[in-house]
Symmetry: C5
């Protein structure tokens, strides 16, 4: 099955730039807001009934991280845009879930958008979720399409003071979120490895058209995956080159680590594309090998019995004057002929390596 | 069907550079002129009987946007060229509808030329229209081959003061026009998605040579589409790097948005090329699978009946001395042979997985 | 047919660099010299009996354009080299007609070499001619392999004062010559379009091995064409970047125009390569489709008649005790069997979609 | 067989960055520590019972090289990290054996990670081992997954004062280690050459599906090999550009030598990929050639005997009035027909070049 | 046949860098030394009994060119290295005949290594010889693997004062040597052209598996050739950019000429790769066309005679009650049926275009 409606900006193409409308599938009618506020000494996590409660943290000397899950309500994005001075086009991009992964550097904040890929258990069928991050000096907004536990590990780490996260700024939080999203891809690639290994064994033992269909489906998924991952390389490379005041020099080494992971993922995807095209070659040539085998059997049967049938046909003729028919050893003689011809043809095919 | 006469500059190759002749299909014998004049406080839209009426807006402190639909009359381009100081080669390029998309920066104006792609309803058959824009400080000329409603949404937006367009300069108007033209491609890509999904299902269920022809036609369209879109990437990238006084810094973020859309479109086209070549592989291997099936049936029939026919032939021989013929159980015995051979061959083929 | 002897420098590889010998096919034993001298007020065109007559124009304040048609006589090149201070290696390159298109900037002159491609009427078979240009401040030498009317349009334009050519320098003359040579390719591409469109129709209706041969031949021509055009991109790009005193700033926009045309030609060639490989795919799969059809007919005939022949064979056996043979309705009964088997197999194949 | 679990970072994706856990297969439960200390006058090599004994060499004026074989014990890495001021992320990377080859430049040290490839004797099945190097001014730590004799040649060279190694710094030691690791690939490529040469001969004489499987396996190995070698090019190029105080100018020429070797290896891998795809083409077309041969034999047998059988069938008919049956020369006449038809068909096929 | 042992550095991988051992095939057990000494006024050429005789020319004010043919004796390289201050790694590279073509710029000299390709007469089988050049201000050392007449033309040119060589420095001599080596490739490409043209004709008339093998062999040769030529592009480009004091500005134009030749050779190689893959496509589809033809003949024979044989079988049945058998015109009637069926099937196949 082909991916559907990947390009849905088109439904909006009549609107003026900057009109806030959610574009994409609505996964959740309600929007869920979670706020985490922390610094070295202090920690607080709570569910927000409405976005305006986040405002009072604006001027505090701590890191505030607000996760917005569900994009059905544009007014939340609008509210944040207004009070944190976010450019209208960025607001629009957050609500349009068909973005290319990218980094935008604005005067007071960074805007990062990328896709979170989640594997499905049984089939090689990936779920895509767009995650937008707005990183200010002491605030991080994370916009997600769905309610899931993607970031719960980081919430935990902040809570239990695990690692350095409590001692560092919003840039390190951004890094942690990127790291979680990027590393999910390794699980998908592991699953892809297993799927391909199983498929390979099947193709060598018994190729069926279903496998062709499966190769095609995996190919489409890999193409789609590559499409969403390869711009992330530019994203992280740009973060590394970035000289905005939001990113501290000490965070650079962590971002380089994410960049390395992205490179590994992209190389692995390229490797899998090569393997898939190799599998297709094998499938095709297994099919021709099978055709060859079928044809050999047909040829052996035909080539052995057609001459014999002809001989039988000869002595089935009704000519008056056929001396052989009256010979005493005529019939056994014909059998000798039958057996001689059949065995010599058998050995002829054996010498050719067909039987 | 192959695209015809894409390269028609050749018909002009004998003329001196700068001779104004319209090159390309004539879609409209008449030229239609529409003028929109606006600033923050004022708005006016009217049809112009002739191009010289546009002149009186030249020195006004407002944005004037003139749309010229139909290129059959070179004198309009010549008139504009003379009064707005447009280089003769630019005039020539406007009239030649076989241009590559490009941006040219001149001292007082920018010249932008690109293709507007409109989907056709039923078939995947795209209509191409060349749009040339000349952007001066307070004037925008838009030259189109045909009369259609491509820009009517922007006219509406200016009229009803929707968005920021009334507060901004000619560069923002240029952005709005580019945005409309670029975003049309998303509709085409959606349609392409649907066409490919339908084709894919058909190929897996019953591949016919018509599908091959369809794959080929879509391929040609995608090649053509890519040819007209991929230079737009350079165009928008050049706009972003551009330091002309016509483009205000505040418009940069909007141009970056268009550039992102172009990038998404190009990536999507590349994805579709991959999918098309995958579909071709599937078509080809579906055809070989069918051949395999045909050959199996032939082989099963031949391999079962040829030996039986041979046996029947034996007892059709007219030898005098054939003891079996006189046996009481000869005929039933032969039937036992027939059934034994047929069933054992049947099980042989069943074990091979052919039946 | 493969292109022959493309690399003939080898015949000279023993000579010292700078030895003047003509390398390449000799198209004309005689060399024809044409001189055009012009400025804003004055025009003169004449055939030169020998090259030394060109010398007297050397210090005049007008543009002198000498066309040398036919390269059989190295002494002409040597004479020009000596009196206009042309580097020996350039002289050598002019006489060797296996050059890559290139631009060389020397202190007092530019050296441009490229291929002029002329279509042949009937077949898609291109004629290649090497054109070398030496552009000095007030002199242009054009060296051609053959006598033809390639530049006659420009001679005409100078004579009748058409366009700006009489008001401009030797750089504009160079541009005019390049423009004529480059734009010839559009005619070839139009012809290629038509050839491919015809071939495509033929392949879909009735693929023959001759078409394969034709695809191959066109491919070779396109490969060759690309080989001679793609370095021209660098040539024109270098001209645009060039800061020599010979090229006036006002000529830049014209050179950019030529560069755009070269880009369009290269993109068109790439498109045609894609189309050719798509045509090959279609040819191959049309051939397999035909094989499939042949096999279906064979299978239908065999599968229907082989069982029937077997049944006829049964009742052709000569067993004494075959009760069916004595039945009154035996013979009609066998016919009922024949018809039943044949029709049910027919419907079996119909259900499979083979008939 | 597909490579398994190449992407195993995923198992760690829940941990905070900087948590030290060994990721990868554990090849050795115990860790073995070897220390070599040398300068121009002095040499010492010994096995360390625990890593803290290395500390006392820290401030000495000699080169100390510690090899850590086996990564099961993270506390060793942690100890080194603490006392030599190694960044936590580097410590983490050392323990994770799924790294891309890379160079990281830190303030006081360089971190180099790459894969050592060891050929297996019989099959083309490469063993991969990750080697991490930390190069300080007078210390080099080499972390290896396994205990093997990879570096024993360099230990020997230091001991017996062979070459310049005793006179030079830790950068030259790094070069020596890189050189050993990179040059191992030549042995693998030699083995690959031999395997491909043998495979090629086999394919031309008798292609079997096993060869297809072998081509596929070698392809997977080459893809994997390329994946681990191609980033080494960037690594060595970065070393050459590197301006850290650790690398002396005099070592540059040695590093350039390693870089050249890496380039040769990568080019050789690309060549082998080309050869592999050429072998696949040959395999496929050998299979079709065989099918052709099979079909020819079938066609010859069928086409010769089917008409003969028909003629025999005619004279097997039981019509009352068949004059031929009573002719004296009827039977010999039929034999003449048989032989005439058979020989003329034989010559027909001979003329076609089938027999 | 696969190229053997291309990567033989591995045999040395245990040695310390800088150990002088000859690696590669030994073509000549003896080393032959030739010295040419010249300036504008003077010329001398002689065979040297041992390398130390070259020393006395070291401080003379003339160009000395020493050719060392045969690399079996490392002491010669060592001697030169010592007295002309050549870096040990360069000495090592000279003796290892598996180098990539490269340029190394050292303080007092340039080191150039590349492959000389010599065509073999009959087959397309190229001989490779490594040539290393060391260019000092007034000395040139040329190291060759074999004794041949590669450079004899240049020796001649120096002797008879042909061209400028006697007036110029060691850089011009280097250019002359490079030029000879590079231009040899044109002869190989001409030979390749002829081989491919012949092969192409053969494939279209009668494709045999031997041609496939030949395509494969030529492909391997072209891959190998490309591998040794494509780094020469970087080599000559680096020479052009080079600012060492050894290369005079006046030599630049000559080096640019060599660079152009290398570019032409590389483009020609790429063209030949395209042609080869096109030939493979044609071979494969010629094979399928032949299969098609075989199948058509089989189908025509089978489809015509199988129904006829069935009819003959019917009237061979022994039913008591078969009225047709007793009809007077039964037998001729059957013949009418035979002929009617055969001719209508014949016309059916004719209409399909099979006969």
């Amino acid at each position: 099955m082909m991916p559907k409606n990947q390009n849905r900006t088109s439904h909006k193409s009549g609107l003026a730039p900057g009109s806030l409308v959610h574009i994409g599938d609505i996964h959740h009618p309600n929007t869920q807001l979670t706020l985490v506020n922390y610094n070295q000494d202090h920690w607080e996590q709570r569910s927000l009934p409405s976005i305006d409660e986040a405002l009072k943290y604006r001027d505090e000397d701590s890191i505030t991280w607000v996760t917005i899950e569900g994009l059905a309500d544009p007014s939340i994005v609008e509210f944040i845009g207004e009070h944190f001075n976010i450019h209208p086009l960025v607001q629009e991009d957050i609500l349009n879930t068909n973005q290319r992964p990218k980094l935008e550097e604005h005067e007071d904040y960074l805007y990062v958008v990328l896709k979170s890929l989640t594997p499905n258990n049984d089939q090689f069928d990936i779920k895509y979720e767009q995650v937008s991050l707005i990183i200010l000096k002491n605030f991080v907004f994370a916009f997600k399409e769905k309610t899931d536990s993607l970031f719960s590990l980081i919430e935990k780490r902040i809570e239990i003071r695990h690692g350095r996260i409590r001692n560092m700024g919003s840039d390190y939080l951004m890094y942690s979120l990127l790291d979680i999203i990027v590393d999910q891809n390794f699980a998908i690639l592991d699953q892809l490895d297993e799927t391909l290994a199983a498929l390979e064994d099947d193709i060598f033992t018994d190729p069926t058209p279903q496998m062709l269909e499966k190769i095609h489906q995996i190919k489409l998924e890999v193409i789609k995956m590559r499409r969403y991952i390869s711009p992330v390389r530019d994203l992280t490379a740009n973060l590394l080159r970035n000289e905005s005041k939001i990113i501290e020099p000490s965070t650079h080494i962590y971002l380089r680590d994410v960049h390395d992971h992205v490179m590994r993922i992209i190389e692995s995807i390229e490797t899998h594309r090569d393997i898939l095209s190799s599998l297709l070659d094998i499938y095709l040539s297994s099919v021709s090998s099978k055709l060859n085998e079928v044809m050999k059997i047909l040829t052996i049967f035909s080539a052995i019995f057609i001459p014999l049938t002809f001989i039988a046909g000869i002595y089935g003729m009704n000519f008056k004057h056929m001396p052989e028919l009256d010979w005493k050893w005529g019939y056994p003689g014909v059998w000798v002929m039958f057996i001689t011809i059949a065995t010599s043809l058998y050995f002829f095919f054996k010498r050719k390596g067909w039987v």
